[in-house]
Symmetry: C2
Subunit: 276 residues, 2 copies
């Protein structure tokens, strides 16, 4: 984490930030958050992220005493104080101290700046593996901090050579733990329509390729896809070349995936140019 953060309504040293342990954010895992990148010192797709964050708060019944404009100002000040360049910004709204230790209350807002840990070049060139897991997230439309299962499973990912999981349930694919998933078959790109967090990178990819179909994607079907990729803020577009023991396509990142990776990079370059 970078030296300065926003905690308890002021900018302070990050090491001194504090949440009360009886906040239901800790004792009940009830909190919302969001995370975005900066390109240089400039937040990427900031309005999309602030809209999602404020919507998550509303849907989760958590009052947020800051508008999108307020948040943008705080973020700007944090970027400057931290000299953040190509970094990550994490906003968290906790569930608050609750009379019955359960019902959502009035939480605290925290904003941290972080160094970014992006996947290495090799992962983009060779693709990565997902581990299939029978699971579907509750209330996925709200960006909650509910990652108990994947954090637990992540202890064993490395030994399995996997990058992350692929959630499927009752035969339907939903998402990875922190990414959306897409498949390509016979030139058609599809992505699950339901039981997903609506990712900002997913949205941008669908704007780049408006013929992508949002529909039910079956687990049996994705195993037989020509190409699979995932999208997220930090991963952008990352090719998936193996799901469990099953090789996807010829085991290499496919043509459509690589083309979208290029388009997304161009979109980013365009935005960087706009900031200059």
């Amino acid at each position: 984490m970078k030296p300065f953060c926003f905690s308890n309504n002021v900018i302070i040293e990050s090491a001194r930030a504090s949440c009360h342990p009886l906040d239901i954010g800790l004792i009940r895992g009830y909190a919302i958050f969001d995370f975005f990148r900066t390109v240089g010192p400039n937040p990427l797709f900031l309005d999309d992220y602030l809209t999602r964050f404020t919507n998550s708060a509303k849907k989760a019944h958590l009052p947020l005493s800051y508008s999108k404009e307020d948040l943008a100002h705080i973020i700007q000040e944090l970027i400057e104080r931290n000299h953040l360049f190509d970094g990550g910004i994490r906003m968290i709204l906790s569930g608050g101290i609750s009379d019955n230790f359960f019902t959502p209350s009035i939480g605290d807002l925290f904003i941290f700046c972080e160094s970014l840990k992006l996947p290495g070049t090799e992962k983009y060139e060779k693709g990565v593996k997902l581990l299939p897991v029978e699971y579907v997230r509750p209330i996925p439309k709200i960006k909650t901090t509910n990652y108990t299962l994947p954090c637990f499973l992540s202890v064993d990912w490395a030994s399995e050579g996997a990058e992350d999981v692929l959630y499927h349930h009752l035969g339907l694919v939903s998402e990875s733990s922190r990414s959306n998933v897409f498949m390509v078959k016979d030139g058609l790109i599809s992505t699950p329509a339901t039981h997903i967090l609506e990712g900002i990178t997913r949205k941008k990819v669908m704007e780049l390729a408006p013929d992508i179909q949002e529909r039910d994607v079956f687990f049996d079907e994705i195993l037989e896809a020509d190409e699979v990729f995932i999208t997220s803020t930090t991963k952008r577009i990352l090719p998936i070349t193996q799901i469990g023991d099953k090789k996807i396509g010829d085991g290499n990142p496919g043509r459509h995936t690589r083309s979208l990776m290029q388009s997304f990079e161009l979109l980013e370059q365009e935005i960087i140019g706009y900031f200059r």
Copy 2:
């Protein structure tokens, strides 16, 4: 909360307790906890709870630098400092600050003393209602802080006149959000065997009535039960007289439930006598 707590390895004022907001206990909802009652100043079934807590830590890959004996000593000191009488004690072990903001790390231990909020007499005499919810908890054998869904739903419970939820999935009943569930049909008592947290009160009830069957309990079946009840640390044995729109039995707490409530009270009295 009571004035003194255990936080960051020392007993301090509860208001000054602090968890860093980047602890994955907050940003990923990854933490374990436990909660038990005191009868007067005496912890009830302490060894069972300490065993479960230390097992949860181990299973969740979270190192705990305190033995059961250490914890018992800290708890004893907290009870004395807080003059706790008929209270609740909450132990939390957070997931810690994680290099990748995800993988379980080395967390902080927090112990708080609380006033107890027990259900009123009317609930025991008339029974309460559960709302059926299609859900099953991941890794239920570990007492994690993963309550995102029920905290979210709890906002609407009051307006539905419900006490809590009843989880069922693929036709099978598992548990309520913080209680185990039992059903009585033709004099036979059954309780779900899988996808549950193994409650300490559940265990004590099964010791009181060793003929209780642990087995698959179907949702269709529980709706047609003669009696239903739930067990938990704070609720002890609480009769369920309605599930959704369906009245259970004749809509009143049944004979077997009332008999077990009495036996459980006798067990508690016996333990209180032992403490004296």
